[in-house]
């Protein structure tokens, strides 16, 4: 097998990978290759047919396939090389990329590798529900693929476990297709999806959302016949005596997404246990020099617009990396209080930086303070903070003078 040299290899042709490729090419980097395991470019957006994408990036509201097509058209117009039906199976810290396709094994040696593999759905919790394993249990994304891409309706009487956005979007989709969605059950005391989806996907169709509830038993032999649902206490344990049975032929799980990082681990990229994605600096560079990450593989985004913007920022940094190299980011960003994580986790302190973060629980009228050492260098008030919504805070370069580590905290007053 001979090794093909490439300046930049992009793993994953979803919105993240596509946006990075277009921006890189425009920044004068010509020798780019996108590798995508599916038959078509576009990633998850191919199956997200509802609208609401693109307001931030394009100033208009588009469906997922339309949003993706804008980038695919640009990739084609710019003559960027891509291979579909090609799965990357190996990555080393020296940036050797091994892929398989119908043509067999291929090996590439890259100067820089961009990780944009996206995420997959969690099934956590659902696996431990007692009962048989009848047909009729799907993750929300799989149900979305069946209904939107394969024209197969998954069921008629539906229960949804988890209030993630994809589950709520599927509640509406299945209702429009004539199914009866009985209810959505969420184990946490707050919803995990966006308020606008609760409004337009559940409230519009009279679908009730029960917080602090979970499925405690699955019933049925060949096909699902019913689920038992219980209320949970503050420790999320089911409360005996609160069981209630719901007849249904379908259970949809929408219990979260998890970055797909097998390849990153293979290359020795260090992951952040909070995001389950790589630890990166403000250039989206991982702990392995020359390996970069953006989009859902880095941290789960709820809006594709921010995936594109993050990937475009990454592309600027990769262009700089291949031309002149990047400065080291030696300041660590720590979190405390109810700040769940930040991306990036490392910064140089040389330039303005925007930290993305999520709170660990819903809060109102809170301040987010950023300290360097003992000095307060940024602060912003938030009327509401929700785990479902990624927030941002800017740190100006001129405030970062001491070189000490940075801490992001919540404050009440």
């Amino acid at each position: 097998m001979n090794t093909i040299k490439k300046q930049v290899v992009i793993i994953g042709g979803g919105p993240g990978g596509l946006a990075a490729a277009v921006k890189l090419k425009k920044a004068g980097v010509d020798d780019i290759l996108i590798l995508e395991r599916e038959h078509e470019l576009g990633g998850i957006l191919r199956q997200c047919i509802h609208d609401g994408f693109g307001l931030t990036r394009f100033g208009e509201t588009l469906s997922g396939p339309e949003y993706a097509q804008r980038f695919i058209d640009e990739v084609k117009a710019l003559g960027i090389e891509y291979k579909t039906d090609t799965t990357v199976i190996g990555l080393t810290k020296d940036k050797k990329v091994t892929a398989v396709s119908r043509d067999g094994l291929m090996e590439y040696q890259a100067d820089a590798v961009i990780l944009t593999m996206g995420c997959r759905e969690r099934t956590r919790g659902a696996l431990s529900i007692p009962g048989e394993r009848p047909a009729g249990v799907f993750t929300a994304g799989v149900a979305q693929t069946y209904i939107n891409l394969k024209n197969k309706m998954v069921g008629r009487k539906v229960i949804i476990l988890g209030s993630g956005d994809i589950g709520m979007i599927m509640a509406r989709r299945m209702t429009l297709e004539g199914a009866k969605v009985e209810a959505v059950f969420e184990i946490q005391p707050y919803p995990s999806g966006l308020p606008r989806n609760i409004e337009q996907c559940l409230n519009d169709y009279g679908i009730p959302l029960f917080l602090s509830h979970t499925v405690t038993k699955i019933k049925g032999h060949h096909r699902l016949e019913a689920v038992e649902v219980s209320q949970v206490d503050e420790k999320l344990n089911p409360i005996p005596g609160t069981e209630k049975e719901y007849e249904c032929d379908t259970l949809i799980l929408s219990v979260g997404l998890i970055p797909e990082n097998e390849l990153s681990l293979m290359a020795g990229v260090e992951l952040d246990p909070r995001t389950k994605g790589a630890i990166v600096d403000e250039f989206c560079q991982t702990t392995v020099p020359g390996i970069f990450a953006a989009g859902n593989v880095l941290h789960v985004h709820d809006l594709v617009d921010f995936v594109s913007l993050e990937a475009e920022k990454l592309a600027d940094a990769v262009a700089r990396f291949v031309k002149e190299g990047l400065p080291k980011a030696e300041i660590t960003v720590e979190t405390a209080g109810f700040v769940g994580y930040t991306v990036p986790q490392q910064i140089t302190g040389d330039a303005d930086v925007i930290l993305s973060f999520r709170p660990r629980k819903p809060m109102r009228d809170k301040y987010i303070d950023v300290y360097q050492g003992e000095t307060l260098i940024a602060s912003k008030k938030y009327v509401k903070l929700l785990p479902a919504e990624m927030e941002k805070i800017k740190i100006p370069a001129e405030k970062m003078v001491s070189g000490a580590n940075i801490k992001v905290v919540t404050r009440d007053e």
Partner: protein
């Protein structure tokens, strides 16, 4: 009367406090942009929504092509429009923006394709 609404026009999802009398909105607060006030007014008078679905595709490389409306329709008409969409079919190839049903149910909006699909090879 008072009502709390969630504006669905953009991902900010502002919580709107609306004071109204019958069909007349007297005040809206909580909106980060002027669009929210318009949304609240519409929502009190006659809620409008856009919908997305799929239409059967003959001779296409996929069995379906995704569609949406070119503008919002009254919420009460959603299921009627869905019935039209379900009974429609188109023949490949289709391109983004192709009109699948013009002026659906006389509501003044079209059902358009949101995806490029070629012919089955």
């Amino acid at each position: 009367m008072n009502r709390t609404l969630t504006c669905i026009l953009c991902p900010n999802g502002c919580e709107l406090e609306v004071v109204y009398e019958g069909n007349e909105v007297q005040s809206v607060s909580g909106n980060k942009c002027p669009k929210g006030a318009g949304y609240a007014e519409q929502e009190i008078k006659n809620p409008m929504r856009n919908i997305a679905s799929s239409v059967k595709l003959e001779e296409g490389s996929m069995p379906l092509v995704s569609v949406r409306l070119t503008g919002p329709i009254p919420k009460a008409k959603i299921m009627d429009v869905m019935a039209e969409i379900r009974s429609a079919s188109v023949t490949a190839p289709v391109k983004i923006g192709d009109v699948v049903i013009a002026d659906v149910l006389g509501l003044g909006v079209d059902v358009v394709a949101t995806r490029n699909v070629g012919r089955r090879s």
